[in-house]
Point group: C2
Chain length 192, copies 2
């Protein structure tokens, strides 16, 4: 198969991310979000909030990280953040993303596999910011739907605050804004 054909096969394969369903619903919609449209959404979220990152970030690397960050879910499925950070789930995602990027010619996928592992480790300024941004849209979904997904998955407020505090590692200013909204949701009885 020639190189362009190989890349076209990759493009068709990653399309499966459009059928991986997440646990929250986009604001105003009755259906669940899929991981492909989520990936688009976090790229623009990262781009527009970049001046509020704690440390200087290379936004172009951040966007590439976010474009590929969920590819492993094609094989592993989506897991709600409040249950997902287990070794088994991470290993399944890592194997999935390696398989999919392996479809590209000339080992071109290796560069992106390294970027995916950097995102997962969250130990660089770019990945800390990217991981912070990844948390934002699902919180907005909950805040705009009286906590639909929190209720459906019985997520207590303690977990919501504890797991999302990592937003502050990427952008303290963003976390302060979000935390104020979460506290408002607690006051309204939407987050318990």
């Amino acid at each position: 198969m020639d190189k362009i054909e190989q890349i076209l096969s990759f493009i068709v394969e990653i399309e499966k991310l459009k059928d991986v369903h997440r646990k929250t619903r986009p604001v105003g919609l009755e259906r669940y979000e899929n991981s492909a449209e989520h990936s688009w959404h976090v790229c623009l979220t990262a781009l527009m909030l970049k001046d509020h990152a704690n440390e200087p970030v290379d936004i172009d690397r951040v966007i590439k990280m976010l474009l590929i960050h969920d590819l492993g879910e094609i094989d592993a499925g989506d897991t709600i953040i409040y249950q997902s950070e287990t070794a088994g789930n991470k290993a399944a995602e890592a194997a999935g993303v390696a398989r999919i990027l392996g479809l590209l010619p000339d080992g071109k996928g290796n560069e992106y596999l390294t970027l995916w592992h950097e995102f997962e480790a969250g130990e660089t300024a770019d990945s800390r910011y990217a991981r912070a941004i990844d948390r934002v849209p699902p919180l907005l979904h909950n805040l705009h739907s009286d906590g639909h997904s929190w209720r459906e998955n019985r997520v207590p407020k303690e977990k919501v605050f504890a797991l999302n505090a990592r937003i502050g590692q990427g952008s303290q200013a963003l976390w302060e804004t979000i935390r104020a909204r979460l506290e408002e949701a607690v006051d309204r009885g939407v987050l318990k």
Copy 2:
């Protein structure tokens, strides 16, 4: 409203793109594609095919163009390419994208509005390549579904070849690969 709050409002507003339905179905799915997941898909398509562009491109600018290229559809709706390139439709999209980017603080949207107009004009290397890439996934959808959307919208082969030849302006090698597949579809009687 403070700046971060303004950006969060923008992020919620652009979510409406997840409810703009296109005319083709992702490979393997029975539902129509939406413009948000399409936007993600073309970003990765552009990234992986960049070495096959006719001219050197700034892939980071191309990706930003593709992230925002359909925002105008939130107000204007999606129109099939075979009918969309009218002055009225373009004006409605331009007004829509200006309104949405206008939600951002400090006139930050202006930079992206300029980029959107560059994409629409298609007169630079980056925009020629981005516009070529934008055509690829819907063709793959048709090629993998026995021409589902061509049939449904009664698009004759002459129009398919004429309108997609612009892929060659961004990447001649890519157009040659795609054209061969389209000719195969004609031979199979799928494209008439």
